[in-house]
Every structure is written in C-alpha cells, then in structure tokens.
Symmetry: C2
Subunit: 331 residues, 2 copies
Amino acid sequence: MANARDVAKAAGVSVSTVSRALVAPDQVSDATRRRVVEAAERLGYRPNPVARGLRLGRTHAVGLIVPDLENPYFASVTKGVQARARAEGYAVFVADTDEDASVEAELVAGLAARVDGLILASPRSDDATLLAAVEGSVAVLANRELDGLPSIALDDADGAAQVLGHLRALGHRRVAVAQGPSSSWSGNRRLAGLRAAAEQFGDVELVHLGSFRPYFSGGHVAADHAAASGATAVVAFNDLMALGILDRLRSRGVRVPQDLSVVGYDDVAVATLVSPALTTVHSPLSGLGRRAVDLLVGRLRGATGTSTTTHLPVELVIRGSTGVPAPVTTG
Amino acid sequence: MANARDVAKAAGVSVSTVSRALVAPDQVSDATRRRVVEAAERLGYRPNPVARGLRLGRTHAVGLIVPDLENPYFASVTKGVQARARAEGYAVFVADTDEDASVEAELVAGLAARVDGLILASPRSDDATLLAAVEGSVAVLANRELDGLPSIALDDADGAAQVLGHLRALGHRRVAVAQGPSSSWSGNRRLAGLRAAAEQFGDVELVHLGSFRPYFSGGHVAADHAAASGATAVVAFNDLMALGILDRLRSRGVRVPQDLSVVGYDDVAVATLVSPALTTVHSPLSGLGRRAVDLLVGRLRGATGTSTTTHLPVELVIRGSTGVPAPVTTG
DNA sequence: ACGAAGCGTGCAATCGTTTGCAGACTAGCG
DNA sequence: CGCTAGTCTGCAAACGATTGCACGCTTCGT
C-alpha cells in the first residue's frame, strides 16, 4: 500500500535515499538509515515487486509448466519447486498443459516476460518445437534431456535395471513390459534400461505388451495382456498403471505375487496404500523439483556451465507385489 | 523480446499509436492499424505484462495459497483454479504453506503487490489473523467461511447428512466418527452435519473416537479405536484417513463391510483404487477452484455483492466399503 | 587558510506501457 | 471560401522503483 514516496516524506528524505537505505545500507549515513527504516516499518512499506521488476529486468519469479497437476508425480515435483523457489526468494507461476503438447509453446510465450526463468517438467513437445519455444528465455528441463538445455532427470535406466535384477533374483525369467505413451522420454529410457539389463543377463526374456495410457485405466487393459502373456512378472510404466493392473488382476482372481508379480515406477504416495503394497522405484520427485530450481537459479546468477543433464539416483523399494514365482504346474 | 518502440519504428509510427492499434483499434485509421499489426506480428511483439501491470495497477495475475500441494484434495483445487484462471487471461502464482498457519500471512503479504487478487484455499489461520492479512487486497476463500470475505465452499453438512442417511438405511444404529484436526473448518461442518442428522433421526448413536491426523497414518490409529467402539460403521474425516482405516482393518482381519462399514469424504481419485472401493462423498474439487476464480474475477471487474458464501452441492457415492451390518451374534 | 578528497544526498533518467491532451489535417457545411 | 467539427496521431506524464551523476558539505593535509 505505502510506496517509497510515502516513506520518503515520512522520513524527510528523497525517494532515492529510501531506496538506498534499504538495498545499499552502506551508502547512507547511520542516522538517515535509521530514520528511513523506522518510517518504512511504521508504514509497512514493501518495495513493489512489479516496479522493481520493470526497472531491473528481473522479476524474481519463475515459471513452472507441468502436464497435469492432479498427477501425483507432478504434484510432488511442483511441491519441491515451490518450496525451494520460495527459499531462494522467488515466487512461482504454475501452468498446467493438460497433457496437451500444443499449448506448451503458448504458455512459455505467455510467461516469458513475467519470469526470470522457466522450468519445464516432462514437456511433451518435440525437441525442435521446444527449443524454438524457449528461445530467448532462460529455461531448464526436468525429466527430459535435450541438447542445448540444462536439465535434471532421474536415472531411469538404472531404476529399470534394478527392477529387472530384482525380478531375476526372485527367479523370474519371462517378464512382461507395459509401456506408456511412446512419446514419453522417460518411458523410453526405462525401456532401454530394461533391455540393456536383459541383454546383459542373457537369461531373462522381455515380453512387450504394447503401449497403454499411463493411468489406472491403462493398467486395467494392460493386466489382461499380462495375464495372457505367459510372463510371471509385469513391469508397468508407472505406479498408476501398476495399481490398475493390481486392481484388474484381483477382480480376475489372479493372485499377486504368487501368480504374477507387479512392479510400478515412481513410488508415488498411493503405492503404499494398496494391498499388496507396490514394489516400485522410489524417485525423489520433490527433490527433482528442488534441484531444477537450483539449476535455474544458478543460471540466473550467471553460471554458464555446459548445458548438461544431471541424473538423480533412484532406488528400488521392495514391497508385497513381487515375490518368487509359483512353480509351473503342468496341466 | 521486441518492445513497442521497435514496432513503432518498424511501422513508422509513434509508440502511442502502437499501443492504441492493439488495445483500442477503433481509435486508429485502418491503414495505420494494419501496418502496426503487421509489424507487431513480424517482430513477434507481445506487450510486456510487467510494464503494463505497473502502469495499470493490474497485473492480470492471481495468487493461490494452499496448505499442501501433494494432498490430492488441493491438487485438484489447484488444477481447477489454474484452468479457469488461464481461460480468463490470468496467470497463477501458487504458494504452499506446508500446513503451517503462521506462514499464510507472510505469503499473502509477499504476493499482494504481484497479483490482482488472492484465493485462499482452506486457510489454517484464525479469523482475525486472516482478516488482518488480506486487509487491502482482494481475496476470496475456498472451503472456509468468514464474515467479511466472499467464499466458495462445499455443502459439507449436507454431505455428512447423506452419509448418515445411507448408513441408517443399511441398518446401522451405532456409528463411529473419526475427526480430523479440530481446527479444520470443514471438519467441524461435517461433524455438525452428522450430529444434526443423528438428532433428526433419533435412533442413530454417534460415537466420537477423537481427532486424528487427516492422512493415511491417522487412519491406522483411528481404525483400532473404531474396532473397539462397538460401532458397525465408521465415518472418517477424509478419504486418506478412510484408506488408512481400511488398510489397518485388513491387516487385523476385520472384514469390510461385513464387520465394519467405512465411509470417506472428498472422493479423491485414490478412493476408487482400493478394494473394497471407498464409499465417500464426491466433492467437486476442481469445480471449487474454478468457482473461486469466477468469484474473484467478478470482484475484480467490480461486482460488489455482499460477501457471502456459496455452497456447492456434494453427492454421496456408494461403493464397496459400506454394507448391511452383520447380525449380532451373542457370545 | 586553501585545495583536494570523500562521503552523503538529491536530481533526473530509465524500464515498457497506457492515456489525457493538444495539434494537424480533412471534410463538410453554409 | 471560411469556419467548425471530427478524426487521427504524437507528445509527455504517469506507474514505482533503481542508479549514474553531480553537487554540497565536512574533513584533512599541507
């Protein structure tokens, strides 16, 4: 409400002195500074961030663009971004694309002039579109790798390898894979990780069930494919899909894990709320958000390292949905 | 990147004309307007929202303050707010208080000058603090009622009444209630609704188990109390708590709904992901967010109706977790 | 005692836009 | 042909802060 002029008047100084007393205290005399600070406090003065943003060209705000706020994956990322950004003195604009790649560029353009930098979480646009959209802005990616933009990602391939190692150790030799959208960058990384691990083991066969929607409903569909595949375990693209698989299997009377082991990915909170609890790959999602802010803020402060990707480690957590496969009973 | 001066130069006109050509097209001649629009398009000009915000005193941004973004309840509200705000041309600042009432006022103060209006979702602060914090800003409340501020809420009392009516119709006569934090405004409204309905029926007894944390973990604790209460049904403060109750009952071998019926509240997405699926009160959460934006934008456009509360209807959805109580077997 | 150095303060420009005001030019009417 | 009305455009102020520059005063050294 009160602006610098009000404070200046109250303290009997000029507006410039008010500004300096607050941002460069050593440039004003002790007596003056005290008068100004006292007046500012008494009037509840806060420098207007919009005016400051215009003058300085820095708004102290960042933008976050996510595909779906209701998806617990992005809810966690958003939480992490918000927390760290606030700690660093930045306000956060958040925009939800509703999984529609075509609105991403528009959102970037709309936010660009309002923020100092942008965080794009799992953007759905293709590489060229994305690069063109962020042209002229400072941007970092979360959960996506792209030449020319710095990014934070999870070590998806390693997580997938851990999953396959776990299943193999339990005795599984035929493992079904329920993929998500083929456009999903992290999905492809996970698949590559599974393949690499399978190849390395040599004695585990992967059965590709196809692509399914990365939600509960997609899991319902995938479950029947998995049951028909002859595999003793199924690896889902993410936890939501795995939960759908569990649900469908239960209603069909397929026992988990005796008849079929099920593995998810992400370790969203819901994974522990079902029975059997879901074996999954714990992913530090809010950490991903926090690190994205760190990376962005580093850029804004002038760090100009190479635009590389940092991979955060993930960890398999074993719960009730995986177990030793039942011995094959011959008909 | 390009500003009005660049466009002016390119079109051979003054900056004022550029502005007018875009915001008040009927004030410039056809020929000039075409030249300006063409130049603006060619240069990819977008009026700088920060500068415009400074000049007009309206930033075309709104702020949303929620207790916890990871809570699916608020994730849905946030999604609704974001969607409607964007449709109305507003960008959204989002801030998460981590359930800490004491940071609410600070967040409001920090955002106040950046936004045209604020939406406070389920604020935890007490009435006086809240009113003082929003002094001087345009603010609306979601899921909280407070004299002097307009708000959108859900018809909690009616939802609770529907719950009790359902249980009574099934034959339940002794119903346990697991409350959430006593500071929860909506929790108290729900409790009041249950009490009113019980009183009206006359033949249903409510057993108060106490207050529990409104999460999965709180449900674990509440479950044992419920089992010991002699009630044939338990009503939880929200879905997360109800899921915790289900989980704990299952591990204790208590059958749902034969031995004990369980009812949640909110109908978050997870409620259908468990078995038995949760009977709960479907609450239009993203609708709540959208309506909050409508209310706020109405205020910003000058509507000055009385600061009243609108209640959105809720609807009981019956799933597998409630049923007819088993006949009492005498020892 | 005079000059230089240095500290503290204010003036004014600036960021990019919008908008009141006034000037210039056209057109229309008598 | 002259006056008026009206249309279009530009100038300049304004929003609220930050900051380069210059000025005035004190202080110190010689």
